[in-house]
């Protein structure tokens, strides 16, 4: 095509001008591609932190648990659902979890926390928590030995009856006294002042001795109550192994090997207590996990919360985050209707929204940058047209159509843009490559940020996506095409006679 040949020659005619214009466009292109690389990297990191450290890609819950986080709303037969989920295509792993709340204390320091019980062997196939350990090691695969409960014998039941009656009596006496005083007593939580390890009064909240009983009598009935309650709810043989978040470890001033006292209300209305031993400390960068969570073996926590064999949540990992909605839909169709199956972006819609918003603002930035850059293209092309007024006049005089003149000018700008795109994409991918391999280190700026409650590491790694390259390329081509229309039309409008007269 002769047009391209002419265009090429014309560009070469004023090499410095062409080079400067191309450099400006290529510079803009490289940085736009790099910005996309960084934004996409940030989005990928957010999705990764969210799905691989906490949620998984798809979760199954009972309806009541989703609606008001009702801890008694458990999934029955979770292991069957886990097996079923594992058989689905795209699913890499599935693991069940159980939740609770509790108060941790150690040497006078305490913290209210979320307790989560996981199966260490299958949890590994869903989340990477075991890779985030800062100290210590993962939870042991086996649950802590826990003696089985047994029912009370007739003799023990009679003793229980007697103790309860005495306690009720003394409680009533106490109430009478209070009525005389005309004031309401401070209500004590059942079991709140029980020494650690013992769990006497929980089963029998009223079993407190009145002040009038003698010291030995009181001790005796306390011991007996404790004995009875250990039959009904035995203690584990050793402290329960737990993982703590780094923030929580700092607050409690605890580390690997620390022995914690856990007190947790159970869904059936009691308060359970136990000792726990920290086996590992993890750091994810997400405050909600690092500061407020304690990981148990699922069997240990289920024992503690009187919920053996049950689970609140089943988390699935699929091969790619895009496949999550499909897997969720298939699984939902196989399970009973009172279970809710949701992909990660439905569980945390604000994160998906935020990622979308980041994309939109980067695209706007690309438009703004290229709009400014296109003004340079208009200028260069206009100059090129005016310099050649005479030449264009001659071309028109010897019969070149207006359309071909427009084509010639557009070809010139297209060639320039193509050159800039080539250089810009190469430069942009080079920057992307650096960001993918080395990351952008913001540690001098910040120790970590959070966006939408998801922790962002201070080292951000870029990501190369087709979209991150295509958007800048298409936007630049479109804007520059529109920008060169004006010079092209002006050139085509020249009257041959007037054009030739120009010097």
């Amino acid at each position: 095509m002769r047009l391209w040949g002419i265009a090429k020659r014309n560009l070469g005619r004023n090499r410095r001008r062409t080079v400067v214009t191309v450099v400006a466009l290529a510079f803009g292109m490289s940085l736009c591609i790099a910005t996309f690389g960084l934004t996409d990297g940030l989005s990928a990191q957010m999705i990764h932190s969210l799905t691989r450290l906490d949620l998984g890609h798809v979760q199954v819950h009972s309806k009541e648990f989703v609606e008001d986080r009702e801890l008694s709303a458990k999934i029955s037969r979770p292991s069957e659902i886990v097996d079923e989920a594992r058989r689905l295509p795209h699913v890499i792993g599935a693991s069940s979890r159980i939740y609770g709340f509790g108060l941790l204390s150690i040497r006078g320091k305490s913290a209210g926390v979320e307790l989560i019980g996981v199966r260490p062997d299958t949890e590994k196939s869903v989340t990477e928590l075991s890779n985030q350990l800062r100290a210590g090691r993962d939870l042991p695969k086996a649950a802590t030995p826990w003696p089985a409960r047994r029912a009370l014998t007739a003799q023990e039941q009679a003793l229980d009856q007697a103790l309860t009656e005495r306690a009720v009596r003394s409680a009533l006496d106490e109430l009478d006294e209070l009525d005389e005083l005309d004031s309401t007593p401070e209500i004590a939580l059942p079991g709140a002042d029980i020494p650690p390890g013992a769990r006497a009064e929980e089963e029998h909240p009223a079993e407190k001795e009145p002040a009038g009983t003698t010291e030995t009598d009181l001790n005796d009935s306390r011991d007996r109550s404790a004995e009875l309650s250990r039959i009904l709810s035995p203690r584990p043989t050793r402290p329960l192994p737990v993982l703590l978040g780094s923030g929580l470890a700092d607050v409690l001033d605890a580390g690997v090997g620390s022995k914690l006292f856990v007190s947790a209300p159970t869904p059936d209305g009691f308060t359970e207590t136990a000792f726990a031993k920290v086996v590992g400390v993890f750091h994810t960068g997400t405050l909600a996990l690092d500061r407020h969570r304690v990981y148990f073996h699922i069997t240990d926590l289920a024992h503690l919360l009187h919920s053996e064999g049950q689970a609140h949540e089943i988390a699935l990992l699929v091969d790619a985050s895009e496949n999550a909605p499909g897997v969720a839909a298939v699984l939902a169709s196989q399970l009973s209707a009172d279970l809710i199956v949701r992909p990660w972006d439905e569980i945390r819609p604000e994160i998906g929204k935020m990622i979308e918003l980041n994309d939109v603002s980067t695209t706007i930035m690309v438009f703004v940058i290229f709009f400014v850059a296109s003004l340079g293209v208009v200028n260069t092309m206009l100059m090129a047209v005016f310099e050649r007024t005479r030449e264009i006049g001659v071309l028109r005089a010897i019969g070149m159509s207006r359309g071909r003149i427009v084509g010639m000018i557009l070809a010139e700008s297209a060639l320039m843009v193509a050159l800039a795109t080539g250089l810009g994409v190469a430069g942009g991918l080079g920057l992307d490559y650096l960001m993918v391999t080395r990351g952008v280190d913001l540690t001098s700026f910040t120790g970590g940020l959070s966006l939408g409650g998801v922790g962002i590491r201070p080292v951000i790694y870029g990501a190369i996506t087709p979209k991150g390259v295509l958007i800048p390329v298409v936007v630049l081509a479109t804007i520059c095409f529109l920008a060169s229309l004006y010079p092209a039309v002006r050139a085509a409008r020249l009257e041959p006679a007037i054009g030739m007269r120009e010097t």
């Binding site: 510079f27 309401t184 200028n379």
Partner: protein, 422 residues
């Protein structure tokens, strides 16, 4: 003067070309003013929200509280701190607080919470949690001194999501369990829900319970102590001044530290700085592209006038004069374009300062959490004279700097060769 006249003449010689270059520069300046104006307000709003959600502008804490974060690290004689802080001219209110984490139970439901003991008379002026705007039901705490019975349950003010989660409403009872200082066993007490708040920050709405300071002190066994005194100021910019002044006043109490909000809300401060860095980076990209455009235009204009410059030099114009006449051309361009840019930018600023932009329109009504705060409502442009002057000078400098190389090339021309140029 001659240089300027020549500069002006070459500027108007190619009206269209000059106009396009001018509009690129003007657009750059106008955008800069727009982004700085909107950024200033959104950052101030973010900081303000963080400050009002807890930290205050300046925080006085026991030296080991920042690392311990527990009521163990509390301090006594806080009334003195409050008095001194409130006597400062810039301070609006100083609110003493005692915080601890704990467990709240209502019926069979319970959850972990952050219990904050506050002064019922001061807190509503110090935090947006306690302010009437955040209240969705009931009332705020009544001071425990006004209670009819000494042993009656204390008032509790909780987040709306927490209440929903526990299934309680105003008037219901809850039990708060904490680990008191210097005690091995948890301690519980009953409270009555008197009011509910909603800040939009799920983390707070779900986990914060405010009770009367005296009740909290009793519950935690630290009578007469607090973990912090938060000082609210009338002006964000007074933070550093007040921090220094308070540190001087409290120098005798070396068990205390005085912290400005950026030290307390580190993540938020980092996010603001990072946002600024991103904006400046984008503007830097734009200005580099603009500078390359100016470079191109001025270089063209010099190349076109090669012959003219040759003649000027042949009749005795010095190289310095040629150099300055090209710079003068760019100076004319710089001044003309900053005038247009300022007009454009300030018009945009005035419009934005008046109407503002609703941030939630970008997020489709969703709240966008950034390091613990949510940007909400309208953002209005805010610019100070200094900022405008600074950026105008930067742009003028940039335009003139882009012309240095073309001017140098013009000045190096050899008259004889230049005159032969077509």
């Amino acid at each position: 003067m001659l240089a300027l006249r020549i500069g002006w003449r070459s500027f108007v010689r190619h009206r269209r070309r000059s106009a396009i270059t001018l509009s690129a520069i003007a657009l750059g300046l106008a955008m800069m003013l727009f982004f700085v104006g909107m950024g200033t307000d959104s950052h101030a709003k973010m900081a303000d929200m963080g400050i009002r959600l807890g930290s205050g502008h300046v925080l006085v804490e026991a030296k080991d509280y920042p690392s311990e974060q527990s009521p163990e690290a509390s301090f006594t004689r806080y009334e003195e701190v409050v008095r001194r802080a409130e006597s400062l001219e810039e301070a609006r209110v100083a609110a003493p607080r005692l915080s601890a984490s704990g467990l709240v139970t209502a019926g069979a439901k319970s959850t972990s919470v952050f219990v904050v003991g506050v002064d019922p008379t001061r807190e509503p002026r110090a935090s947006s949690i306690a302010a009437p705007e955040a209240r969705v039901a009931g009332s705020f705490l009544t001071p425990s001194a006004n209670r009819r019975f000494e042993n009656a349950p204390g008032d509790a003010y909780l987040g709306n999501s927490l209440a929903t989660h526990l299934g309680v409403e105003v008037g219901d009872r809850i039990v708060i369990t904490v680990s008191p200082v210097d005690a091995d066993n948890p301690k519980s007490a009953a409270f009555q829900v008197v009011g509910l708040f909603e800040t939009g920050i799920e983390d707070l709405d779900r986990s914060q319970v405010q009770i009367d300071l005296t009740d909290a002190q009793k519950l935690l066994n630290v009578e007469g102590s607090v973990t912090q005194v938060a000082v609210l100021l009338g002006d964000l910019d007074a933070t550093d001044g007040v921090t220094a002044a308070l540190a001087r006043e409290l120098v005798s109490r070396n068990e205390l530290v005085v912290l400005p909000w950026p030290a307390v809300l580190k993540e938020l401060h980092d996010a603001i700085v990072l946002d600024d860095v991103g904006m400046y980076l984008m503007m830097a990209i734009i200005f580099v592209i603009v500078a390359l455009g100016i470079f191109n235009t001025v270089l063209m204009s010099v190349t076109e006038r090669t012959r003219e410059i040759g003649v000027m030099m042949a009749i005795g114009t010095s190289r310095w004069r040629v150099f300055s006449s090209v710079l003068a051309e760019s100076a004319v361009l710089a001044i003309a374009s900053t005038i247009v840019g300022l007009a454009l930018g300030l018009a945009g600023h005035l419009a934005m300062a008046h109407y503002g932009i609703d941030v939630t329109s970008f997020t489709g009504g969703q709240d966008y959490e950034i390091s613990g705060v949510v940007l909400r409502g309208r953002i209005y442009s805010r610019l100070s004279f200094d900022v405008v002057a600074e950026w105008t000078l930067v742009v003028i400098g940039l335009v003139i700097a882009s012309a240095i190389y073309p001017a140098y090339r013009a000045a190096r021309l050899e008259p004889v060769e230049a005159m032969r140029h077509v």
